[in-house]
């Protein structure tokens, strides 16, 4: 009987121990693809993100590494052509520069635009329109607890009439002005780029990057 009781804890302890391990999943060599992301927003200048994808396990996910710099990016509106130039902005939360091609001509309502990108021997084109019929909003209300696939959160509920025969998409923009009900976080957000840091933080030493 004594032997049984020696085996018992040994068997049980090893049963569910070390159940996880990091592995390398064999994958064929990855060929980067082109990624084009853009938004034509009326009353703003066009912004196009033209990057190459990287292997899933790659560490290089900064757009500074991914941007395809030598492309010719144009937004064409009839006889008018806006040649976009490479620009960047600093994301002050994660301290990363984001690269994009930026135009100079403001996007107009009720206009059809053609995108043309020439990169090496490849040409990529797309067409879109800002001539989207407005929909009538029936009502708008606020809820503090709204459940959807993104979990439970507060939200604004908008009721409007969709046109059933059309395949269309809607984009909402919600502006929240600062007023007396707005609550601010008690402690300042600390990132090296925002210029706030704790005196003991190592990040003080690398704050305020000086150049792009």
């Amino acid at each position: 009987m004594k032997k049984i009781f020696i085996i018992l804890p040994v068997a049980i302890t090893i049963l569910f121990s070390n159940c996880q391990k990091d592995i390398i999943v064999p994958q064929p060599p990855y060929n980067s693809r082109v990624s084009i992301q853009g938004l034509m927003e009326p009353d703003s200048v066009p912004v196009i993100y033209f990057n190459k994808t990287v292997p899933y396990f790659s560490n290089s996910t900064n757009t500074a590494d991914l941007v395809i710099r030598s492309a010719t990016v144009k937004i064409i509106n009839g006889s008018s052509t806006d040649v976009l130039t490479l620009d960047s902005t600093l994301n002050r939360i994660n301290c990363k520069y984001i690269y994009f091609y930026k135009g100079t001509q403001t996007v107009q309502w009720n206009t059809t635009y053609k995108l043309s990108i020439i990169s090496g021997s490849e040409t990529y084109t797309a067409t879109t329109t800002t001539a989207v019929p407005p929909v009538i909003i029936d009502s708008v209300s606020y809820t503090s607890t709204f459940k959807d696939i993104y979990g439970e959160h507060e939200g604004v509920i908008v009721y409007f009439r969709d046109i059933p025969s059309q395949t269309n998409y809607y984009r909402y923009e919600m502006l929240r002005p600062v007023d007396a009900t707005t609550k601010f976080r008690e402690s300042p957000l600390v990132t090296p780029c925002l210029g706030y840091c704790l005196p003991t933080s190592i990040s003080c030493a690398i704050s305020h990057p000086s150049s792009i």
């Binding site: 049984i4 090893i14 159940c19 979990g151 439970e152």
Partner: protein, 560 residues
């Protein structure tokens, strides 16, 4: 227990794949018997005997694992959510009502429950169970014909919950079947055996699936199985089958099955011819060829392309057509050494229509209409099976190897190109051996190896530059569907048993002391793989979860 892999007789239907026909053991009509086993990880007990001597008998057996109870004190503190247990109960009563009539009542209930809590906020829980009850009446019409008429109730459910990182998913799939059937067997002489009958199923299915981001506040959604909408359907079938020994060297088994499936707004009447021919080349060699058509009205749909087992059952409907297969097999069978060694080689080809999968990007909620998210395609499966079995001698056992390929093609998936089926297994090897060392000592070894399941994982990515918070900041490039494989599964089990007849007061009983080693070299076989980001380094990585490393066991079995 009988496994039918091809050349299915017309008696069987409703599935495209192989058939495992299980018959429960009858109770002893003459004397009471108690047998059981007390083990380190589980125990079992079986009691059987006559209710009325030589007229009615019963058998009851029960088994329960208690690793969950023993586990608690020894688990690391951060691993309290990990557990595993199962139990099953069997009962059967046989009553001879007269010279020509027999009544059989049987029931089974079994449940499995496993939970796993790992690092990286991974939680995984699975709960599945099956209950069945059968009332069967066996009637002899003279000495050439008999019939079995059964009323069967069957219930199955699978509940699954997964939490990983910022996301969680829930799944529940339940099936309830009420089935009535009658099977006639007519044997006019030794050359002919004719089987015919009818069956009727009333299916009730209740699948639900949900996946979402974990809410920043408030509670997570849970699935209440009682509130899942039920889907009802009816399945009938009529069949006739003739087994005909035309000559000593030529045998034919042919038949037809007519399934009729209907719901409130759709009906399918189908035709399933079946034929198997056997040619004996000599006393030890034969060739067998078969052609069968099968239909399946209940569909098992993988709920995700991840490596987790997340399949749900849905019924056929006006939109979801029955799955259909045509299977061809050809086999060569050869026995050696006075039939003590059996060998065979078989090839098969199966084409499948109306396969069902979810569309790309499907994210179900509890109010989703599951059918709206489905897409349909075809599949093929082919392979070769080799089998060697040694029946006689101190060393007995068998070796089985299958080389196969199964893929699917869907117009709306993988750019219309063929991709591997989730359970496609290129290699499948099983070896089982038993060696009688002495009259009392027996040694056994089992080895299994098979290719890992296919699953889909991203091969590339790009940061989302606008509205990225909805996608956790990245768009993923998947290149192709089921583009990755779990590692191969292989395991060696060893056991040794010592049998002896012993005395307990005035009773003699047979005892067996069994020692076992499960997963001898503690292979970390993949259960599933998930992708995560190292919280410290920010490096993306794949993590494999394995269950059941080496497990020593000891049990004491007895039979009065």
């Amino acid at each position: 227990m009988q496994l039918i892999k091809g050349g299915f007789p017309a008696k069987y239907g409703g599935r495209l794949s192989s058939i495992l026909d299980i018959t429960m053991k009858d109770g002893n009509k003459e004397k009471y018997q108690v047998e059981g086993g007390i083990g380190l990880l589980s125990s079992n007990l079986t009691i059987q005997g006559p209710i009325i001597k030589n007229k009615a008998s019963f058998i009851i057996s029960a088994r329960r694992s208690y690793i969950d109870l023993l586990l608690k004190p020894f688990l690391p503190k951060d691993n309290k959510g990990t557990t595993y247990w199962f139990y099953d109960l069997n009962a059967k009563v046989n009553i001879e009502l007269g010279k020509n009539d027999k009544l059989i009542l049987s029931a089974f209930n079994g449940k499995d429950n496993a939970a796993y809590t790992g690092a990286n906020s991974l939680n995984y829980g699975i709960n599945l169970g099956n209950s069945t009850a059968t009332l069967r009446w066996n009637h002899l019409f003279g000495n050439k014909m008999f019939a079995n008429t059964s009323l069967i109730f069957n219930e199955y459910h699978l509940g699954l919950s997964t939490t990983q990182g910022n996301y969680y998913s829930l799944l529940y799939t339940g099936v309830k079947d009420v089935n009535g059937k009658t099977d006639f067997t007519y044997i006019p002489n030794t050359k002919h055996m004719i089987k015919f009958g009818a069956t009727y199923f009333y299916h009730t299915l209740y699948p639900a699936s949900f996946s979402a981001k974990i809410p920043k506040m408030g509670s997570k959604v849970s699935i209440n199985k009682d509130s899942i909408p039920h889907k009802y359907s009816n399945e009938m079938a009529f069949y006739a089958n003739h087994e005909w020994n035309i000559t000593e060297k030529l045998g034919l088994n042919y038949g037809v099955r007519l399934p009729y499936y209907f719901t409130s707004n759709k009906a399918y009447l189908l035709f399933e011819p079946r034929v198997t021919a056997k040619i004996s080349l000599n006393k030890t060699t034969s060739i067998k060829a078969s052609y069968t058509v099968m239909n399946q009205f209940l569909h098992l749909v993988p709920n995700s392309t991840a490596s987790l087992p997340t399949d749900i059952w849905i019924p056929s409907s006006a939109l979801v057509k029955p799955q259909n297969s045509q299977q061809y097999t050809l086999g060569l069978f050869k026995n050696f050494k006075d039939n003590s060694v059996e060998t065979s080689v078989e090839v098969y080809y199966k084409s499948m229509k109306n396969q069902v999968l979810f569309k790309e990007g499907t994210q179900l909620t509890l109010v989703s209409n599951i059918e709206d998210a489905l897409t349909f395609g075809n599949g093929t499966s082919y392979g070769v099976e080799l089998f060697i079995k040694k029946n006689i001698g101190k060393l007995t056992g068998w070796v089985s190897y299958t080389l196969s390929k199964t893929d699917q093609t869907f117009a709306e998936l993988n750019f219309g190109k063929a991709f591997p089926f989730t359970y496609d297994r290129r290699h499948n090897l099983s070896i089982a051996a038993t060696y009688d060392l002495t009259a009392r000592w027996t040694l056994s070894a089992d080895f299994v190896f098979h290719t890992g399941n296919a699953f889909t994982m991203p091969t590339g990515l790009i940061p989302v530059t606008a509205g990225g918070s909805l996608y956790d900041g990245y768009y993923y490039d998947y290149s192709s569907r089921n583009n990755a494989r779990l590692g191969a599964y292989h395991r060696l089990d060893l056991s040794a048993s010592y049998k002896k007849t012993r005395k307990f007061f005035k009773w003699k009983y047979e005892s067996e002391l069994a020692f076992g080693l499960y997963n001898v070299y503690s292979r970390k076989n993949p259960y599933f793989v998930y992708l995560t980001v190292d919280p410290v380094t920010g490096q993306r990585k794949a993590v494999q979860v394995s269950l059941l490393p080496i497990i020593p066991s000891i049990s004491y079995n007895f039979k009065f």
